[in-house]
Structures are given as C-alpha cells and as structure tokens.
C-alpha cells in the first residue's frame, strides 16, 4: 500500500462535491423560512405537516408508486429472460442483439421520450396514461436489470443444475429449488434498482404522463411557485431518504448473492 497523500485529499473533496446537494437539502426542509437562502432562521416541522394535506400530491405519489412497481416487475422479468439467454446459450447475432437491448442506456433520454411519444400517439393511437410511462420506463430500466442479473447468472455454476437433473428433478423443480435461490439476491436488487430509477425519472415521464402526473412531474410544476419550494424540499428529503434505504438494501442483497455463489466482491452495480 502506497501513500495516497494529495490524491486522498482530492477524493474526499470530490465526495463532498458529490454529496453537497444531499447535505443541504434537509437543512432547508427543516428551516423556518419560506425563502430558500442562508442564513437559516429556525427549526420547524411545518413543511412536512403541510405535505400531508396536499391531495394532488398524494394522487401523484400513488400514480408514481404504481408505475414504479409495474416497471420493476416488467423490466426484471425481461432482464431475467435476457440474462439467462445471454449467459447460458449461444445464438446467432448474440452480441448484436444484446448491444441493441443495452442501447437505451446511452441514448439521450429526450430521444427515447420523443420517439415513444410519436410511436404511442401517432402510430398506435394510444392515449397517454400511466401505461405509456410504464412502457417507457421498462425500456430504460431493462439494461440496468440485465447488467445486474448477468452477474448473478454468470456466477451460477451450471454443474449445480445438471446435478439436480441427474438426481431426478424435473426442469421446473430444478429451476425452483436450485436456480432461483441462487439468483434471488440479484433479482431483488434488480427490482429495487428499477423501482428507484422509475420513481425518480422525470424527462421521459414529463412527455408521456398525459393528465395524471407522476411525482417528479408534479414537483416540476411546484418549482414555479416560490412559496411552495420549502414543501418540495421536505418532499425531496423524504424521497432521498427512501432512495438511500432502498439502495442500501439492494447493495446488501447483491453482496449476499456474491457471497452465496462463493465469489469475491469486485465492485459496484454496473
């Protein structure tokens, strides 16, 4: 281990840069002033209390939760299929097909939003609703799910499945008894990640929601009213706390999955 010196200092400074917004957010959520500026004037829980009374926000929250749950389910299911296919089987054009599936990861989000808007409204004549958002979010979440599930399936030793079949299990019961328990941590972290992405996503949702806004779209609307901004800060504090808890759980399951498969931990989500 070498001395880190300046580089270590830089790393800490960089982390402060990364965390600055998240550290400042709760300060204003509890600050007793309608103006978002320093110096802070006092402690209050009023903004949180005000949150409970806004009916439109509750509707937006319910809408967002529904979309996020459906997105998590669909994209994880698609992710399982793709990751299973990619790790176990070889088929023609495999690299090309997988590349195409991963493409939404690097496409500018506005391009995804605009093209889906055009496809949904002009070609299929679908009205904009929660379902158009779910379709779009599934599209952008699936690559993340595949990335997580790929590692889960790669760490799965095929010999274990073969052993189960040799010992007289049917393919169905092998999947249920052997494959599933070994990859379930990957599935849980994939569900949580796609849930979090969908809950926070704004750029696409803004184009596709129609008249039932999701929570981020609703927040965007609130930015226009300076008096409501402390409420947004309070709401944001709750959202950030929930995201961090969900991510910590996802990370915990990812590590447990690695430990179960007997692998060494090599790093983050992507």
């Amino acid at each position: 281990m070498r001395r880190s010196g300046w580089l270590g200092l830089y790393a800490v400074a960089y982390l402060i840069f990364l965390y600055a917004p998240i550290i400042i957010l709760p300060l204003f959520a509890f600050n007793d002033s309608a103006v978002i500026a320093f110096p802070l004037s006092g402690f209050t829980l009023n903004w949180f209390r005000e949150l409970t009374g806004i009916e439109a926000m509750h509707a937006a929250l319910r809408n967002s939760l529904f979309i996020a749950v459906m997105t998590a389910l669909f994209s994880t299911l698609l992710g399982i299929a793709a990751a299973r296919a990619a790790t176990r089987y070889n088929f023609p054009l495999k690299a090309g097909i997988m590349g195409l599936i991963m493409l939404p990861l690097v496409l500018p989000e506005i391009i995804v939003a605009v093209s889906l808007l055009v496809v949904a409204v002009q070609i299929f004549g679908m009205p904009l609703s929660a379902w158009t958002v779910i379709a779009a979010h599934t599209l952008i979440c699936t690559p993340f799910c595949i990335a997580i599930l790929n590692t889960a399936f790669q760490n799965l030793d095929p010999a274990l499945e073969e052993a189960a079949v040799d010992l007289g299990e049917t393919p169905q019961s092998t999947f249920r008894l052997i494959t599933l328990p070994l990859v379930i941590p990957g599935i849980i972290s994939s569900l949580l990640i796609s849930f979090t992405i969908s809950l926070d996503e704004f750029i696409i949702a803004f184009f596709l929601t129609g008249n039932e806004p999701t929570l981020p779209v609703y927040i965007w609307g609130l930015f226009r009213f300076p008096a409501r901004i402390p409420v947004v800060m309070a709401l944001g504090t709750i959202l950030v706390a929930v995201s961090i808890i969900l991510l910590a759980i996802a990370e915990y399951y990812r590590r447990r999955g690695l430990a179960r498969a007997g692998q060494k931990d090599t790093g983050g989500f992507l």
Binding site: I24, I36, L107, I110, E201, F207, S243, D265
Partner: protein, 253 residues
C-alpha cells in the same frame, strides 16, 4: 420518418417533405442552439472526465481491496437520488444569495456575490458534471482495475520515473475506459432539458429545450422530431469521429 411530415395545429399531413429540415437550415436560432448544445456537452464531458479520472485512479490504486466496493457505493448513491431535486439544489448552492456566495462573503474573500456561476452555461456545466460523475468514474475504474500491476513494476524497474510510467503505461491502458466514459457522458448530456431550464438562464438553453417546446408547447411535433433527428445525427457523427481518432492515436504509439 415522422420528421418528414408536417403538422398544422392538430391535423397531421403525412405527405413526405423536407420542409422541417429546410426550416432548420433557414432559422439561425436552431443552429445556434445546436452549436451551443454541442459546446456545452463537450465541456461537460471534458470537465467530468478530468474530475473523474483521479477518483477512479485513487479507488483503484490506493484503496484497500475490501474497501473498494464501499467507495463505489458511496460514489453511486448521489446518482440514484432524485435528479430534479439535485438540479434544483445546485440552483440553491450557486445562487445570488446561495451557499457559495454566502460562504465566500463571510470569509471575506469577495465583497459582492459572484454572478458568473448561475443562469449561464457555467452553471449547466457544473450541475451536469455532478449528475454524470458516476457514469464517468465507473468505466475508468473498470479499465484501471484490469491493468496488470506487474507492468507498472516492470516500467519502474526499467528506470522510468513515476510520471513517465503513468504517461506511457497506465494512461494508454486506461484509454478504453476513458473513451467509454467520454461517450457515456457526452451522448446523454445532449438530451437533457431539465438542467438548462433550471440553472441555465437564457444563455444556457440547449437543443433539447427546443425539442421539448416544439412538442409540448407549439404543437409542431414534426419539427421537434426533425430537430431530434438532427441532434442525434450530430452526436453520432461526433462520437464516431472521436472513436476513430483515439483508435488512430493509440495505434500510432
């Protein structure tokens, strides 16, 4: 395909036409927006990757192996929290009576608030450099992790100093990661309209803002689609040119 049609308020004329592209060429505003978007996205990319490289280097070379995933986790957390809220908070941090200005005034370093950090392209660059940080760090980190450490020792044994070892061994081997992170930052940056709208001010608006306006406000979806196609094409061309240049550069060595 849609971009070749015309829309007249709510009715849609499906005869193919190049009018939308002609309008792009005729209207200097659109070209100015596209040029500005490319410049902003370019500076965001340069800033983000330059800031990210030392971090990736630090985590890969100096952090103990069992602590690495904790560091990566810490780096990725801010990325997963609400994007809108983060961008809005940058407005709070950089604003006229925001955190940066208040702190600098209290320290006596400046006498009046700095105005060049909000509602202009600088603010967009800072905010996006924050938003895309993990995207830049992770590919470089992966590339650095793959470098065989014995190569570095060999270089040192053969008499190169630390700086030359870095320049002639580490950097070329890390190039694939750098290229990946440049692309992964540059391409999505073009499509962002939240940051320019919230912190960019009139000078910081980008092509995506115009696409959004055409679709949702002016009801001219085909022109919006044409702008999207043009933006996409320019991004693709620049990315391909960049990949080609780095390939050539690496092969020449």
């Amino acid at each position: 395909m849609f971009s070749f049609w015309t829309q007249d308020f709510l009715s849609l004329d499906t005869t193919p036409t190049l009018n939308n592209y002609r309008e792009f060429l005729a209207e200097p505003l659109y070209q100015e927006l596209l040029r500005r978007s490319l410049i902003i996205a370019g500076s965001v990319t340069v800033v983000t990757v330059l800031l990210a490289f030392p971090i990736a280097y630090y985590v890969s070379f100096y952090v103990r192996p069992e602590r690495k995933s904790l560091w990566l986790f810490l780096i990725t957390i801010p990325f997963w929290t609400s994007y809108l809220i983060r961008v809005f908070l940058w407005r709070v941090i950089l604003g006229f009576d925001g955190v940066v200005n208040t702190a600098l005034m209290n320290l006596g370093l400046i006498n009046e608030p700095l105005t060049f950090i909000l509602y202009n392209p600088n603010a967009v660059v800072i905010t996006l450099a924050h938003a895309f940080a993990p995207f830049a760090i992770l590919p470089i980190f992966v590339a650095l992790e793959r470098i065989d450490r014995s190569l570095l020792e060999a270089s040192r044994d053969l008499g190169e100093n630390a700086f030359n070892t870095f320049r002639r061994v580490t950097l070329p081997l890390a190039m694939p990661g750098v290229v990946a992170s440049v692309l992964i930052v540059f391409i999505p940056t073009i499509g962002d309209y939240v940051t320019p709208r919230l912190v960019g001010g009139p000078e910081g608006l980008m092509i995506a803002n115009m696409i959004q306006t055409q679709f949702l406000r002016l009801n001219n979806a085909p022109l919006g689609a044409a702008l999207a196609v043009i933006a996409m094409l320019s991004v693709t061309l620049i990315s391909l040119a960049f990949i080609w240049l780095t390939r050539k550069y690496l092969r020449a060595r």
